[in-house]
Amino acid sequence: MISGVSIYEILTVSTIIFFIGVYGFVTRKNLIAMLMSIELILNSAALNFVVINKYLFPEHLGGAIFSIFIIAVAAAETALALAIIINLYRLIMSLKTDDTETMKF
């Protein structure tokens, strides 16, 4: 627990980062840049888990352990998505979302 900082302020920061990620996800047209916005969203969600664990239920460890799982799932998701993007780039030579029209070649 950070002395002098209430739960409201940390939740405010994570909310702002979450919606910055949403803004990036809506505006970006590049597949890798959209994935980066998803990283921002996942990170703010994990921060929420940890903060609520620490400030409201300090005797349990559920939030911290679920953040570890979120980080593991995010790593798996990034590896798979980047593999798909590299494979897609070989086929259509582009990373724009407008150019990825067909689902199966």
Binding site: G24, M36, L56, I65, A76
Partner: protein
Amino acid sequence: MERIIFYIISVLMIVFAVMAVSNRNIMRSIVYLLFVLIGIAGIYFMIEFYFLGAVQLTVYAGGIIVLYINSVMLVEKINTPLPSVVWWRKLLAASLSIFGIVLTLFAIWSYNFVKIAESQTKDTSINDVGRALLNYGDRGFVLPFEVISILLLAAMVGAIVIAKTNKPQENNELK
């Protein structure tokens, strides 16, 4: 003192997050994303989840960012700027985000969280995290732990299968 450090980290994180989603050079925006991830690791260290902060630093700042940089270098010229966004789409996304921020902050600040005295919180050591992860009794997490290990294995195999090239097979067929 801790309060001032928290505010500095928060402001830096928000500024770098905005730059990460708005910069048109993708390499720079990856580096700004790295700063945001390090800031979140700093908050983990400040609320005394040291193991989680270390995992955040090694997996995100060490692993995922390198993966992004490698794949950007594999697929595109680094200096190619991203396509610019039309103004109405920016305006729409910004108003959507600001509406969401206002709505969520209203919900958070109007809710009355139970306050816990600072003396009640205890330090979380790596021992506690490990015992909770391998505990199969009450409040144990051994099942999600095993499921996540299988998920990581499947993701690793899947990434190799998806990203591998088909050229050797074609050569064999030609022979």
